[in-house]
Amino acid sequence: MTFRLTTALAVILGLASPAVAQDKILNVSYDVARELFAEINPVFAEKWQADTGRTVTIDQSHGGSSKQARAILEGLPADVVTFNQVTDIDVLAEGGLLEEDWREAFPNDASPFYSLPAFLVREGNPKGIEDWDDLAAEGVQVIFPNPKTSGNARYTYLAAYAYALDQNGGDQEAAQEFVKKIFANVPVFDTGGRAATATFAERNIGDVLITFEAETGGIAAQYADAKFERVAPSLSVLAEFPVAVVTENAEKNGSAEVSKAYLDYLYTPEAQRILAKHYYRVNDETVAAEVAADFPEVKLVTVEDVFGGWEQAQEQHFAEGGILDSVFVNQ
């Protein structure tokens, strides 16, 4: 009896005591980052316990980043967000959930890692695809999703456009003509990145898939038998992966401190190494030098510099009757 009582007491105390020093955060993230954070979270938890003596549980929610932003606005209790679109965090700022100047809260405009539209080609690169020019050539089949529905494809469109501007001394008409040629080489426009991946890898359609460089690595690993090869173009558009503490929720949940520490941790060499392993590019100089062989040098331009920001790009290119509609003839 005494034994049972002590056991019961030990169980109750065991359950109760960590509650005092137990931290908990919900990281609401974009669609395909599960494996990345599955690897980062335990390492952070260990470090947090070593530094503070407290344990931390990190819950993850993944989905399209606009859908996730919507859910947070409606009450999904996210402590931190790790998104792939700056505009989706701006929406949260507009909703009063975090500060307007959230991009100043962390280094590199609150983007601890980045990527860019790049290519994945079939084994041996039979069509010799090295740069955007090769995508406009006759007889090349190009796969990327529909820019009307996919943020990923919008990056692809802007990168091809920026490349053509760069080659033609900023001639808008030449750029439109160039992008039109690439679009004419796309046999099917899927609605999202994953569907386009399936078209290329499972249905064996197309000579080249265009998606984020970080994705090309994962796809090549998943379909190792197909021996796809990653190709980086000479010029591309910087794709940021912004992060922020959802201040209102974090303060309510008493998790402000651990939330900030979690996002700070993403900038440490330890985390940056994990990020590079998942084919994201990182800013930490030491780590970037270590993994330089995996990341060919690419001239990066920003949406702000070339297109005047997302809002203006939306208006000029993607809105009904915009430039996209005039090059998108085979939709």
Binding site: L26, V28, D31, V32, R34, E35, D59, Q60, S61, H62, G63, A71, L73, E74, G75, L76, P77, G95, R194, T197, G218, I219, Q222
Partner: protein, 280 residues
């Protein structure tokens, strides 16, 4: 020439050829539209071997999704039985103003897309919604937690029990119940000894259909779930997430589990269907 001499004998034989062709086409069509894709799920799920399949099923997040889906079904189906039965009884046994309207409202979820159900609840219970500020002040979490998932599942499964029980109750009439009443039975006795035995198979049939729907619902749940892994992901959502993670074997393993549940429900449904047919 021979055909002209015996037209009567040949005509049925021609019919039979057409029959066989049509039957063959029906089987072929069903095979490619339904059977082959479903068989493919199991084939892909087992493509990396049984061990990989089992490991994917007992992955904590998938296991939790199976558990959550079961909990949602275990809550929504009994609630559906009670409410559906009450509504059917009310509509079958009484005439009152608004009777037709009540029936129409109960059947509404049949014709409304599940995504609308999800969005409605978002607009009602969301932080920016009608009840949002009140719920927020009281610190009650409805959306992105179990209550929200249960509510939208109730919405999409609401018509099933009433829809199955009502026609039977109307066809049987209330003579037996009135006879019991004149013999001095209490209300509960009438329900337990007369009403329930008459409709039990139809009731069960409705409950089975509601279960199938509750277990399989994706659209409405997707809107209100918040997709927190290991917490608010139901099995259909988990399948989508695994698929998006490029975890093909995991996605197909989870999908085959859901398919297996559906097949069991189908068998139960077929058995009950026979019973319902005999009672009618």
């Amino acid at each position: 020439m021979r055909a002209a001499s015996t037209p009567g004998a040949l005509a049925p034989r021609e019919d039979r050829t057409a029959q066989y062709v049509l039957i063959g086409l029906a089987f072929l069509g069903t095979a490619f539209i339904v059977a082959v894709p479903l068989a493919y799920i199991f084939w892909r799920a087992l493509s990396d071997g049984v061990a990989a399949f089992a490991a994917n099923i007992i992955a904590p997040d998938t296991l939790h999704a199976i558990w959550l889906t079961s909990v949602v079904a275990l809550i929504t189906v009994p609630v559906n039985i009670v409410i559906g039965l009450s509504a059917a009884w009310l509509i079958a046994r009484f005439t009152f103003p608004g009777r037709k309207l009540l029936l129409t409202i109960i059947e509404l979820p049949f014709s409304i897309s599940p995504i609308i159900a999800g969005v409605c609840y978002l607009l009602l219970y969301g932080r920016q919604g009608l009840l949002g500020p009140t719920l927020g002040a009281a610190d009650i979490q409805i959306l992105f937690a179990l209550p929200g998932i249960v509510l939208v599942t109730l919405f999409v499964t609401a018509p099933f029990v009433t829809r199955e029980v009502l026609p039977l109750m109307q066809a049987q009439g209330s003579e037996q119940e009135q006879a019991a009443l004149t013999l001095g039975a209490t209300g509960f006795q009438i329900f337990r000894l007369v009403t329930l035995p008459n409709i039990r198979w139809a009731l069960l049939y409705g409950a089975v259909l509601a279960t199938a729907r509750a277990v399989g619902e994706f659209g409405a749940v997707s809107v209100v779930s918040g997709s927190i892994r290991g917490q608010t992901n139901t099995l259909p959502l988990q399948i989508e997430l695994l698929f998006n993670d490029l975890n093909i074997v995991g996605a197909f393993a989870a999908a085959s589990t859901l398919t297996l549940i559906a097949l069991i429900v189908l068998i139960v449904k077929t058995v009950i269907e026979g019973r319902v047919g005999r009672e009618e």
